[in-house]
């Protein structure tokens, strides 16, 4: 069942002198109830801006965000308020996102108070205790302060706060990027457990492709303000149909010296979102670019044999077979 439909979302920032930063430039996707959509891309590709705009934490320039049939972008602030409790967010930095002056109990209870949920202190305290237990923390920590906890524990507290209002959707903006590797898997597993128990949908913004593969059911790859490919995790990794996705996958270091690769790294930096190339926006760095790529902007469309796999490439169906270790050094 579709929870969220984002259509042609754009976020532009005017710079003056007629220049405009097109941070998000026509993004469309759907998110099903209880599903995790991973959103990946290089820094500056607009993935975090997309996530914030659809929660209306940033003003969108164009487009619509349908949540159960209502366009969030067309609602007044008063109309938006009751919906806000159903849309929550967890931030990257577990050190900056929890107030150092509040106890853990106050942090988790704050959303309940703002939305006047639970009558009286005792009921709220009981709810906070349940929430802390559900993220694997002891209810006794409610009296302690955030600085007493490690990054992984703080992120659990942030998740408990996001769960307090029983949301339908949680936007996770790089939720484990600041954590140590041995702790990352703990938090990803916790998120999966909570999703199974509560049917929450996640929009998981990240840059760690190998982790997102396991954390997400579907993955949308962004480049310069657009989604260039969108497919199920398994399909995207086994049969990527956009040259940019392939470059990203090939850039991920493989933790196995036996599979060490002599790779051809993607050259240069992405173009500026102020001066987006004509036609296909990836063509300036694409090994497969042809004259048509300069002239025509390829739309994000389903592959003929795979309605569930979308790619924005003129050559999506004719790219060579994907061999992840194609550049493997000869033994």
């Amino acid at each position: 069942m579709t929870l969220l439909t984002v259509k042609d979302l754009s976020v532009h920032f005017p710079l003056g002198h007629g220049q405009v930063v097109r941070a998000v430039d026509g993004v469309s996707f759907t998110l099903q109830r209880g599903e995790t959509l991973g959103m990946v891309g290089e820094s500056g590709c607009g993935k975090s801006t997309t996530a914030r705009a659809l929660l209306r934490l940033l003003p969108a320039t164009r487009g619509s965000v349908l949540f159960e049939g209502q366009d969030l972008l067309a609602l007044s602030e008063a109309q938006m308020r009751p919906l806000r409790r159903r849309l929550q967010m967890v931030f990257q930095d577990p050190y900056a996102s929890l107030s150092p002056r509040l106890t853990v109990g106050q942090i988790v209870a704050e959303p309940l108070e703002i939305h006047s949920i639970g009558s009286g202190r005792e009921e709220r305290e009981a709810k906070v205790a349940r929430l802390l237990t559900s993220v694997g923390m002891s209810p006794a920590i409610a009296r302690r302060y955030p600085h007493e906890f490690s990054g992984g524990q703080r992120q659990r507290i942030g998740i408990a706060r996001a769960l307090a209002l029983e949301p339908d959707l949680i936007v996770l903006d790089e939720p484990v990027s600041a954590l140590d590797i041995s702790v990352r898997a703990q938090v990803v597993n916790l998120l999966a457990d909570l999703q199974e128990q509560r049917g929450i949908a996640y929009l998981f913004v990240g840059h760690d492709l190998s982790l997102i593969r396991h954390a997400a059911h579907r993955i949308a790859v962004m480049y310069l303000g657009r989604i260039v490919e969108n497919a199920s995790s398994a399909e995207l990794y086994q049969n990527p149909r956009h040259p940019y996705t392939r470059s990203l996958l090939q850039s991920v270091p493989v933790p196995d010296p036996a599979r060490r690769r002599e790779r051809a790294p993607l050259e240069g930096d992405p173009p500026s979102p102020v001066a987006i190339p004509s036609g296909c926006r990836f063509r300036t760095r694409c090994a497969y670019a042809q004259p048509i790529c300069t002239e025509k902007d390829p739309p994000l469309i389903s592959l003929p044999q795979h309605s569930d796999h979308l790619s924005a490439c003129h050559f999506a169906t004719t790219l060579p077979m994907w061999q992840p270790d194609a550049n493997a050094a000869a033994p």
């Binding site: 140590d180 590797i181 898997a185 396991h214 990203l248 850039s251 010296p257």
Partner: protein, 341 residues
């Protein structure tokens, strides 16, 4: 012989039984031994990885080589040899010629090394002139050349720009150019690609390998990313809570990790699951948290998180055991052979 020693016969840099401590934060507290008895060597054209999580002491180990431990920390034991030269015996003034001279260092955040108010050409030229007496215009030419060597397009134009005019990846290249200006023997690279996108990371790692190959420079690479280690390192040292847990050639460490901590780290990597396997929603993990500095227990520091802990045994001092050529582990699962007289 120091048994936990790893490395080549004729190292450029040899850190031996290094110990770094911070005094107690309050009266009656205990001192924090953030590095305990670490030995690591870097040879010519060799990349040695030091892997560990935050607080494992890996950065402190690198900073010790330049005697740049932040106050009030102190190097309380061990030797740091650059060739035959014991750096711990040098005066502060002599150290200044070593830093950014024979040993250069690059960091995660290039802005910590770049001055925002000077052009990058001026900054590199200044570094060149610190180590070689050259006229200004020749130093400037060297700076442009250094930018070209790190594959910066239009180096003449870029040399006249300021750090803020560049992307993160390009700043990292500039910092590498700056570090290489003195033609160092050893490069200490502390998480040099952690803040970068994977695409740019691949570019920077390729660049470091290329320069290492061309100049014979040795690289000590500090990282938490085992993927980066597998792709670039010849040998690896795994640290936990300031101590060496395991060291081996990279190929051997990944093929037959001996220490339960190394095994746990490798198992928690999603990429290590079979590459074609269907994605699993639950990943293996190491339970618990690393100990905070100053609260490191005696005996094995990993025992509270270790799936193979043996009560009554793991509290004892750790043995150091050689399992094969260059492969050493510190774990009670591998008792040291009885000493022979």
């Amino acid at each position: 012989m120091i048994p936990s020693q790893t490395g080549s016969a004729d190292p450029l840099l040899s850190i031996q039984a290094l110990t770094v401590a911070f005094p107690p934060a309050r009266r009656g507290g205990s001192e924090a031994r953030v590095v305990q008895g670490i030995s690591v060597q870097v040879g010519r054209a060799e990349t040695v990885g030091v892997v560990g999580e935050s607080g494992s002491g890996k950065s402190m180990t690198a900073l010790s080589a330049l005697r740049l431990i932040p106050e009030p920390g102190r190097i309380t034991g061990g030797r740091i040899l650059l060739g035959d030269d014991d750096l711990l015996q040098r005066t502060e003034k002599q150290m200044r010629t070593v830093r950014g001279g024979k040993i250069a260092m690059i960091f995660q955040d290039p802005m910590t090394s770049l001055n925002p108010v000077f052009t990058i050409g001026d900054q590199i030229a200044e570094a060149v002139r610190l180590h070689r007496r050259l006229p200004r215009h020749e130093a400037w030419e060297e700076a442009v050349q250094a930018l070209r060597r790190v594959h910066i397009a239009l180096p003449e134009r870029r040399a006249r720009q300021y750090p803020h005019e560049m992307s993160g990846g390009m700043r990292q290249r500039v910092m590498i150019a700056l570090a290489l200006a003195s033609e160092p023997e050893v490069l200490l690279a502390d998480e040099p690609t952690t803040a970068l996108d994977v695409t740019v990371q691949a570019q920077i790692l390729a660049l470091i390998s290329e320069i290492k190959r061309d100049t014979g420079m040795g690289v000590l690479l500090i990282t938490h990313d085992l993927g980066v280690v597998a792709e670039t390192c010849d040998r690896v040292l795994v640290m936990y809570a300031g101590q060496m847990m395991e060291t081996a050639e990279a190929s051997r460490l990944f093929a037959m990790p001996a220490h339960p901590y190394t095994q746990g780290l490798l198992a928690s990597l999603p990429e290590r699951l079979a590459p074609d396997a269907a994605p699993q929603r639950r990943l293996p993990f190491i339970a618990g948290q690393p100990p905070a500095g100053g609260q490191i227990p005696a005996g094995c520091p990993f025992r509270n998180r270790c799936p193979k802990r043996m009560p009554g045994i793991c509290e004892k001092p750790l043995p150091t055991t050689t399992l094969g050529p260059g492969h050493t582990v510190r774990c009670h699962l591998y008792p040291a052979p009885e000493p022979t007289r």
